[in-house]
Amino acid sequence: MIEFKNVYKKYQGNQAISDLNLTINDGDFFVLVGPSGSGKTTTLKMINRLIKQTSGEILIDGKDIDSLDLQEMRLNMGYVLQNIALFPNMTIEENITIQPESLKWSKDVRHKVAMDLLEKVGLAPEYAQRFPRELSGGEQQRVGIIRALSSNPKVVLMDEPFSALDPISRNQLQELVLKLHKEMKMTFIFVTHDMNEALRLGNTIAIMRLGHLEQVGTRDEIIHNPKNNFVDGFFKNQHNDDKKIKLIIDSQNCQGVDKQDADLSEEDNVSDLARVLENKKFALIESSDEKVWKLTTQNLLSYLARDGESNE
């Protein structure tokens, strides 16, 4: 159990966190969500003392974290970074087993751990000897996740781990962390700015704004009983672009193409399509009947224009 008691954090006079009181239960999938500057990442990093609180106490299983041996505490805590941060000079196996090595586990045990974890996230054993640069972004973050699990920690901290990934990889990895959480029975503490991601993953969701905790509750509580306008608005705003690409394909005369690898599926959100079209002339969308559609910026604009009309 992790407890925050009257925790404050000031950066050069600015209040980043004020009077935070929070309890995270063992085995929970706890999501901290909020817009940028809400203090969610600061809160996360105070747990492994990457950031030191200005005042207040943080307790793990009733013990003040300041009283624990820093290195020992960190060695038994997993950490996943937003930009993955695999060590480029080490093989995948060396990356995965960096904590077990520091914990002086034997070579055989470390090897077994690496192999088991690779298998769990669907990466072939030969990945063990590759270097990070040889892997795609999605594959790298899989390794980033299992690196955090390698020492079999009680607590795993994840700092917006999927925000840099493409929608398909993000989807897959969300599935994956849910599966891993179910299997490994650890406490996952997950930071995101994406309300959809929070709703999809979290057992408990804490919504933060400007260093304050706005509401903590289960998914249902947040959706059905938003405590205030901000929570309601934050949820709705993001829910608005929860519209599926399917709507565009259904409403317009889109161009079908030969079957090939698609960028997105029709179940993805319109906002995902907008993100893909930022960098490309067109996006390939796979529909449920296994057809592939070519969508251009023009398609998106026409859809948005008509969508606006119908809203009025």
Binding site: L50, L81, A85, M90, L157
Partner: protein, 508 residues
């Protein structure tokens, strides 16, 4: 090109040993610099202020001209390999430190955060992550340092540490482009090879680099250890200034000493440096003997208020007395030849106008178009003095670089030049030096300059070295200089042949 090949064939071994010296000095300096700079950067990587101070200091060191630095070091640590290595280390610390420091401090902060968050110890973080990630920068620092060291190490020749610089200096001194090219090209090639080797090493793992590093240190340690232990009991070091003439003389000294005293081992250090380096080296005991000219002693080595005598005997006596009084050095008897200024004309020209002495020029002065070294043209002891002493007025006299004046007379651009009496070009271009019959030019006689300590300990050396007293004429010396400097014969062989021919080696 031909002369380069010729030099490579005849002096191949000497060049190889110079390359060896060059590599040794460079590697030792690089290793010491790396051992200082890399740990320093690691210690200071989290102390920005201190690191900046060190960077400033090392940058300032970098701006000191290498020659000045060597000059500063000589009174403190003497001459030879030690000051060269110190100077090179001082230069090499900066690029290695700077690159290591920026390599370590520009690691992606996310990786630092990850290492921190995983609870890695300071050492583990350094060994597993920071050093490997900084390695490309560290290596490039080492390569910059290595290339710089190999280039700068050519200056080590100036203070008697040997190396390829010997050939460059000798080439400049004697206007021999072939030697210059050999020195320059080999040091450039060395720089390329070592730079590539360091790059190759960088591809190996940290452990293998450690093994190679240890091996190099052990090998070098062993080599120096062996050299120190293997020194024979009585060893004498004879050095000489730049050029062929001193090299021939010191080889004669070596032959004579080793012939008379089989228990003594003589090592020669040809092309050891300029006058003041040698003089300091002799006084400090780094060397035991070197040949010096009487004129030079009075001019620049001792304090005297007497005006220079033009009588060779008086000059020698005064030089000997003052060296003994002021520096406690023994100046043995001089050889016959004088290596002083001379006026030189073509043999054919001399024959046509029946010229033997400088006085003979008086009748033909209207036909003389002279080419003089700029110094000679201005010095009191040079053209102004001699024209007054002999009452000469040449039709024209222009100054030209000393290196080209012999070519100018050979090509008929001028018909009289200044020169030194033993210059090999006199023989090479079929010239003749006119006799200074009024003894205007100050006398320059060569004689062995020896530390008093050595002579007291081994008085028999005096007899041995005095065998050359009154020997070797100007023509002999010209001829031998010609064989060595122009024909690239080995100085040791030329010296030996002379001694044999004149029955100076017993039982030979």
């Amino acid at each position: 090109m031909n002369s380069i090949i010729h030099i490579l064939q005849t002096q191949g071994n000497d060049i190889l040993s110079s390359i060896g010296q060059h590599i040794t000095i460079s590697l030792v300096s690089l290793l010491i610099a790396a051992v200082i700079a890399i740990p320093l950067a690691i210690i200071l990587m989290n102390h920005k202020r201190a690191a900046e101070v060190i960077l400033q200091i090392t940058s300032v060191l970098q701006t000191i001209p290498s020659l000045a630095l060597l000059g500063i070091l000589i009174p403190i640590v003497g001459i030879g390999t030690v000051p060269s290595v110190i100077a090179l280390v001082l230069y090499a610390v900066m690029p290695i430190f700077q690159n290591t420091y920026s390599g370590l401090t520009t690691i992606d902060p996310n990786l630092e955060e990850a290492a921190e968050a995983f609870g890695l110890s300071r050492t583990k973080k350094l060994v597993k992550i920071e050093i490997p990630l900084a390695m490309p920068m560290i290596i490039s620092g080492l390569r910059i340092a290595m290339v710089m060291i190999i280039g700068t190490a050519t200056l080590a020749a100036l203070i008697g540490a040997g190396g390829l610089g010997t050939y460059i200096l000798l080439g400049i001194e004697t206007n021999n482009n072939a030697l210059l090219i050999i020195g320059a090209v080999f040091s450039a090639v060395l720089a390329l090879i070592f730079s590539a080797a360091i790059k190759g090493i960088s591809k190996l793992s940290l452990r293998k680099i450690g093994i190679i590093f240890t091996a190099v240190v052990v090998l070098m340690g062993g080599y120096f250890g062996y050299r120190t232990v293997a020194q024979p009991k009585v060893s004498i070091t004879i050095a000489g200034k730049m050029g062929s003439e001193p090299e021939i003389l010191i080889n004669m000294y070596k032959d004579l000493i080793e012939n008379d005293h089989p228990n003594m081992k003589v090592s020669t250090k040809p092309n050891f440096g300029g006058t003041s380096f040698l003089f300091k080296a002799l006084k400090s005991g780094s060397i035991d003997i070197y040949p010096e000219f009487t004129g030079t002693v009075l001019e620049s080595l001792v304090k005297t208020n007497k005006s220079a005598s033009h009588d060779p005997k008086a000059t020698y006596q005064l030089a000997k007395k003052l060296l003994k009084e002021q520096e406690d050095l023994d100046y043995l008897k001089p050889m016959k030849y004088e290596n002083g200024y001379a006026l030189v004309v073509k043999k054919s020209f001399a024959k046509k106008y029946n010229l033997k002495t400088v006085s003979d020029l008086v009748g033909v002065e209207g036909k003389i178009h002279a080419g003089f070294d700029p110094d000679f043209y201005q010095l009191k002891d040079g053209y102004p003095g001699i024209s007054k002493a002999y009452n000469l007025e040449f039709a024209s006299a222009k100054t030209m670089e000393s290196s080209i004046r012999y070519k100018a007379i050979a090509n008929g651009k001028v018909n009289l030049v200044d020169g030194y009496t033993t210059d090999p070009q006199i023989k090479e271009y079929n010239l003749v030096a006119l006799k200074d019959n009024k003894e205007f030019f100050p006398p320059y006689q060569g004689a062995p300059l020896v530390s008093e300590k050595l002579i007291t300990k081994y008085p028999e050396l005096k007899t041995t070295l005095s065998k050359l007293a009154g020997k070797i004429s100007e023509e002999d010396m010209q001829k031998m200089n010609y064989q060595v400097a122009v024909k690239h014969e080995k100085a040791s062989k030329v010296a030996h042949d002379y001694l044999v021919k004149h029955n100076l080696l017993k039982g030979d």
